[in-house]
Amino acid sequence: MSTLAHVFEAEGIATVALGSIRKQIEGSAPPRGLWCDFPLGRPLGKPGDPEFQHRVLDVAFALLNTTEPVLAEFDESIPDGGDEMLACPLPPRHDPDAHPAIDEARGLLAAYDRGVEMSDGRFGAGRVVAADDIPAAIEAFIRISEGTPWAEAGIPGLPMRVSHDIRSYYETAALAMVDHAPAAWASTRWFLDQTETGKVMMAARQAMQDQDAPQPMWFYLTPGDR
């Protein structure tokens, strides 16, 4: 992003760059940078809090008054302790013959549809796998976790993108089941640590690594620190 700041300034447009990673914004040194110690994915800090977002913008735009390059720091951090998890109900078993992850995903479809409506379609499945096809996509990862070679498991697209759709399906459903803005990463932790499909994805990722799949194929199935 800082590259764009340098390029735009050279083309005659003044810029203010927000940055969430201190070393990155220090190293790339945009002409006017504001480091905000906020979680990745939330450069304005707090969803649903216009007052806080305006505070960020006020500080950012004040940097336009400087006469030389500047890197400033926003005066409030939003820490992530790494343990906050969404308290979100999961559907009861409906089809005892189905794999628990498949049964679970099918049971979340109505919540997913509500989540799409709530978020005006900004977030969700459908980039490579439509919501109705999410259970079938999960089946491919179940097969991998049970020993099928990853390239023969029938993943319906680039693994990282299919995985992204599955995670987004769950997190969108979760959004419909809570009445507040979730803390950063809380819905991701819920997906990976509490759901049957999360367990499948973690197991499939490990299986792909054990099968010597190319690193990008398995690494980007989940956030990188997993």
Binding site: H6, I13, T15, P47, L64, F123, W185
Partner: protein
């Protein structure tokens, strides 16, 4: 899993280095036209999604609010944008600043690029300058850059 752990994975990735720092002095903010340029891979549903390593940009119409995220990286929280688009793309906040006269006006069009690039040379040499020219031709004076 903690946000700081994920930041630690990416903080040492090398960026482009610039021998000099270009610096443009804008008009007074109250007279300026302001656009947002985000690296969140946003696009309208009827536009092409971003491919992996896509170095192009998408033009986002300010009069619409149907922005969807096309970022493929798993290393950011998406729930904030899902709950409130202004967490990433603060167009409503800019509208409020314009109504209060803090900024001159909000640009009619904004831009989105895809972050998480390993080779920035195409953005530096091609799509970056092209995007800047596009905005300059719209009369944009100031750009707010937002990542995810």
């Amino acid at each position: 899993m903690a946000d700081s752990d994920i930041k630690a994975l990416t903080e040492a990735l090398p960026g482009e280095s610039f021998e000099t720092t270009a610096f443009t002095t804008p008009p007074p903010l109250a007279d300026a036209t302001v656009a947002i340029v985000t690296t969140a891979s946003l696009h309208h549903p009827d536009q092409d999604d971003f491919a992996v390593m896509d170095t192009g940009y998408r033009v986002l119409d300010d009069s619409r609010r149907d922005y969807v995220t096309g970022h493929w990286s798993p290393n950011f929280d998406g729930s904030g944008f899902a709950y409130d688009m202004n967490t990433v793309f603060p167009v409503d906040r800019l509208d409020e600043l314009a109504e209060r006269g803090v900024i001159g006006r909000v640009a009619d069009q904004h831009l989105a690029y895809a972050g998480n690039q390993f080779d920035l040379s195409a953005i530096r040499m091609d799509s970056g300058p092209a995007g800047a020219k596009f905005l300059r031709d719209q009369g944009v004076d100031v750009v707010l850059l937002t990542p995810v």
